[in-house]
């Protein structure tokens, strides 16, 4: 389905010193710096899989997606999507894939989305009955009815993104490359787009490769994740496995009963808030209350012993054991990469 082998993309970026002098010098000698955007990445994706493609800014995610969609020609390596070499941009491949870019649009700016749909019907040669059925389905799933007749320029970012998704799926592509499809959307719209992608994948068994900075997207949609940083592959496997590898600790939160003023054993950290006794303060939000918690990050096997020790010192305390938030796992992973 998708096969990527030792993929490389090296950009040659012209360098110019600032100011008039720099502009003048660049006329005679042009300095060029090589940027290794993707540097030897390999992976395979089976039909119908939903894969999260993750990494910090500048990791090479979008460059890889653009090579997979045939927009960029790789510097080296092999690429195959549905049996085609994407860079050749065969019509047979283009009519079976789509690339949705959260920051680039295909909708005609001054015309209603319905006109872009009509244009795509003609360009992808979609039979009339299939076109009508797909538009109806997309309109229902994404709640597009009130949007289709308004000029694109008059739609909000979220409304536009939903119409972008619909325009990109009219030809029922077998492979969806989604580059930050929920960027800039509010939480309600993010959830709607997320649910839609899951429903679409279930309905058409299409393969999804998705990049996103929103961990909720990844958690909801992608059983498998591929992580790249500085153009090289750092992890390819289940999301659960990634969490275990990079944040194997459990977070224990302990909120003492009112009046407790002692110290808890290491590795508990003292509360960041005003100290004990804040629990249940009227008008204080849950988040503020959390600041009154003593917190410890420990391996799963040590949780029992730590709790025993802590509850002996502080009987009757509220205790919560949490998996670490995914954002923290990635922040830790990417920080380690930056320092590597």
């Amino acid at each position: 389905m998708i096969r990527v082998s030792n993929l490389r993309k090296i950009y040659r970026v012209p360098q110019r010193a600032p100011g008039l002098g720099g502009a003048f010098r660049s006329l005679f000698s042009r300095e060029v710096r090589e940027v290794r955007a993707v540097d030897g990445v390999s992976f395979e994706i089976a039909p119908g899989e939903r894969v999260g493609f993750l990494g910090p800014n500048g990791a090479g995610k979008t460059t890889t997606l653009k090579m997979l969609a045939g927009l960029l020609v790789p510097t080296a390596g092999e690429l195959s999507v549905l049996g085609h070499v994407p860079a050749r941009r065969d019509v047979k491949l283009l009519e079976r894939i789509t690339l949705v870019m959260g920051q680039k649009q295909q909708l005609l700016w001054d015309l209603p989305p319905r006109d872009t749909f009509e244009l795509n019907r003609a360009l992808y040669q979609i039979p009339d009955a299939e076109f009508r059925e797909t538009v109806e389905e997309l309109t229902r799933l994404l709640e597009l009815a009130p949007l289709l007749g308004r000029p694109t320029r008059n739609l909000s970012l979220g409304e536009r993104m939903k119409c972008e998704l619909a325009a990109a799926l009219l030809h029922r592509p077998a492979v969806l490359f989604l580059d930050e499809p929920t960027i800039g959307l509010d939480v309600v719209m993010q959830l709607q787009v997320r649910q839609f992608i899951a429903a679409w994948n279930a309905r058409f068994q299409s393969t999804v490769l998705l990049t996103s900075h929103y961990m909720d997207d990844v958690q909801a949609l992608c059983p498998r994740v591929i992580v790249i940083a500085r153009g090289t592959l750092r992890y390819d496997g289940s999301l659960k496995g990634l969490v275990e590898r990079h944040q194997p600790l459990r977070r224990v939160r302990l909120r003492p009963v009112s009046g407790f003023s002692g110290a808890l054993p290491a590795p508990f950290r003292a509360p960041v808030g005003a100290g004990p006794g804040r629990r249940g303060v009227p008008g204080e939000s849950d988040e503020e209350s959390l600041e009154a918690d003593h917190v410890a990050d420990v391996p799963p096997g040590d949780v029992g012993a730590l709790l025993h020790a802590a509850l002996t010192l502080c009987p009757g305390a509220d205790v919560r054991i949490e998996e670490p938030p995914l954002e923290e796992v990635f922040a830790r992973l990417f920080r380690a990469e930056a320092g590597a």
Binding site: Q105, D110, A122
Partner: protein
């Protein structure tokens, strides 16, 4: 670029192109009105020819020449070079490239759908010119008009292909429009836009005959204005045909090689 796909998509492309043009009607109208240089040149050359023919052309001949130039210029000018330049530098070409039909078709259709509006704007201007110089005698013979229309179509193909080639230079350089402006300057001189080629020194004329610029404007103007005898039409059309091929090959090379360098920036 499979022909069947283009043919089945053409009606929709036309409809969408027309809808877009309606959305941008004010902009298109202003653009049309800026191409009035032939009227300025007519005023100048009319004054020069007041005392007698210039290069064998009387005031009536010059009025006919520049009236026809105004029309042919409107029929053959396009703006694909600016659109490609913008699309390549900003990365907005990316969504167009994902579709299974070359975006160049859409640019071509945009030109064709604007033709009725262009002609509608031109008609009253041409009528005024005819009232001003009734002796100019514009061509009316159907065969004559048909040959002039064919020459205009060939001229547009050369213009379009060169604009695609210059537009594609944006794959290599951010300054490609500067080169195009230089090219445009040469076209105004050697294409017969500022003056008929026949008023130029003979040595310059000999060179200008074989440059691409003549095929881009002057040939249809010379045919329509009656400056080229019918016996010379096949030769002139063949020359245009050769430039269509030449410019087409250059455009194709620039476009396909450029695509291989495309950076797809901006997203």
């Amino acid at each position: 670029m499979t022909p069947p796909r283009v043919l089945t998509a053409l009606p929709t492309l036309f409809r969408i192109g027309a809808a877009e043009m309606t959305a941008y009607r004010a902009e298109v109208l202003i653009w049309i009105l800026t191409s009035t240089m032939p009227l300025v040149m007519l005023a100048i050359w009319d004054a020069v020819a007041a005392d007698g023919p210039v290069g064998g052309l009387s005031q009536a001949d010059l009025a006919r020449y520049f009236t026809v130039t105004l029309v042919v210029r409107q029929l053959t000018s396009c703006w694909v070079v600016w659109e490609l330049n913008q699309a390549i530098r900003t990365g907005s070409l990316s969504p167009q490239l994902l579709r299974p039909l070359s975006p160049l078709w859409f640019h071509a259709v945009r030109h064709w759908v604007a033709l009725p509006l262009r002609i509608a704007v031109l008609l009253p201007v041409v009528a005024l010119l005819v009232v001003w110089r009734p002796e100019m005698a514009l061509p009316a013979d159907p065969l004559h008009l048909a040959v002039a229309a064919l020459a205009s179509l060939l001229a547009w193909l050369v213009v379009f292909a060169f604009q695609v080639a210059f537009g594609a230079l944006a794959f290599w350089s951010g300054q490609s429009l500067g080169l195009f402006n230089l090219w445009f300057g040469l076209w105004t001189i050697f294409g017969g836009y500022l003056m008929p080629l026949s008023v130029m020194p003979e040595a310059v004329q000999a060179v200008a005959t074989y440059l691409p610029f003549r095929s881009m404007l002057s040939v249809p103007v010379e045919i329509a204005a009656g400056l080229l005898p019918p016996a010379a039409w096949p030769g002139a059309l063949a020359l245009q045909g050769a430039w269509v091929l030449g410019a087409g090959v250059i455009a194709r090379l620039a476009w396909t090689r450029g695509l291989a360098r495309y950076g797809a920036f901006g997203a």
